[in-house]
Symmetry: C2
DNA sequence: TACTGGATAGAGCGTTCGTTCTAGAGAGGG
DNA sequence: CCCTCTCTAGAACGAACGCTCTATCCAGTA
């Protein structure tokens, strides 16, 4: 089926998905052209349409799924960084802030822009976006339950944690400052503390 | 200078700004064309470039300022709806949820999409976005101080309130559900309560 | 060697983009 | 009456858009 990889480089399909994900993150859906993607991925237009016969929408949906995983990694890293729940949450915001600053405030949430642009008009993409949000919420929810928060509270709080992180990341990007994220971390920690069993 | 308005309709410039604002809210910056704007505003291309010689960017910046005021009205209405701070906050989320559902989940925050698309690449627009966020934060901050919260806490909390509302509105739009907004309202109320003087 | 099918390559389709430009409409002042 | 100036009107420009299409390359199999 496939010969062993001769070089250490990744396959064409993977390069296309990665390039698309990064471009969507930085320029959004409408602002990103297929030709720019193929250029950036060092693939030809023929290859793009070979792997993604569904065109731009199918490609974007796959890129969203890629961004989903990417963000989930950060989330898990932050949430698993400490026994203390509130410390874990602030680690999350610190990680996000670092990544944001490191990219000169360019790389915010990998899917938000595309999500907003396509809401209500591109079902394939919306589906991927919905799954990503649900995935992130589930990750946070599980951590909250581990910390002893009840099922229903954990579910609702997880949603608010994700939403607040999203909003703070947007604000940080616009303001070119880590402050909104750090503040969000502190406020989320304080909110969660009111639900912790020992209270 | 100007003859008295003969009809009750608004002027051409105003129609252009309103149409642009609504289109940017729903389709974002890259997804909205000048010709679509002129069509929607019932103005000609000549009129658009007459009033906005700076082109699409200048027009978008003006539309952002329009959206700024629009959102500020809702914010003030919600925050001023009750003596009780926490009740006022949940009124905000209720108002936003109503508007969102009423537009079939189309009309979220009037500026977020454009803000994300143009961050770091359209200074004129970024400026308008920054001012809008600062404006909203100031509105919330003042209300928090009225409720007796200290200056620094009020400033930081105001930022988180705006950010969380932004994030929750995005989630509500994607999920086509009022729930994220209502939950955000409850959590924000709870967070704010921990800062209230009588605690 | 001949054949097959996945992958690559890019010219070209019709359309739309943001912008420019010229022309004219219409009211107000001289 | 004409001149001026604001505003309206839309044709036209080059560039970029998403996508289709044919041609070619090349490893694997027979």
């Amino acid at each position: 089926m496939k010969t062993a990889e001769k070089t250490s480089s990744v396959g064409t399909r993977e390069r296309i998905v990665r390039a698309t994900s990064r471009l969507l993150q930085r320029q959004g859906y409408e602002g990103t052209g297929i030709k720019q993607i193929s250029r950036e991925a060092e693939a030809t237009l023929g290859s793009v349409y070979h792997f993604f016969p569904g065109g731009k929408q199918e490609l974007a949906a796959e890129a969203i799924r890629h961004g989903d995983q990417e963000f989930a990694v950060i989330l898990r890293a932050g949430l698993g960084s400490a026994e203390d729940l509130t410390a874990a949450v602030t680690t999350c915001t610190t990680l996000l802030a670092r990544e944001l600053r490191g990219s000169d405030w360019q790389d915010g949430c990998p899917i938000t822009t595309t999500a907003l642009e396509t809401v209500g008009r591109a079902p394939v993409i919306e589906q991927a976006v919905t799954e990503a949000f649900a995935n992130w919420q589930a990750i946070v929810e599980e951590r909250l339950r581990t910390a002893g928060i009840g099922a229903e509270d954990a579910r609702e709080l997880a949603g608010t944690v994700i939403n607040t992180l999203e909003g703070a990341e947007l604000a940080a990007q616009v303001a070119r400052s880590e402050e909104p994220l750090h503040i969000a971390g502190r406020h989320l920690a304080r909110l969660l503390a009111t639900y912790l069993p020992q209270d």
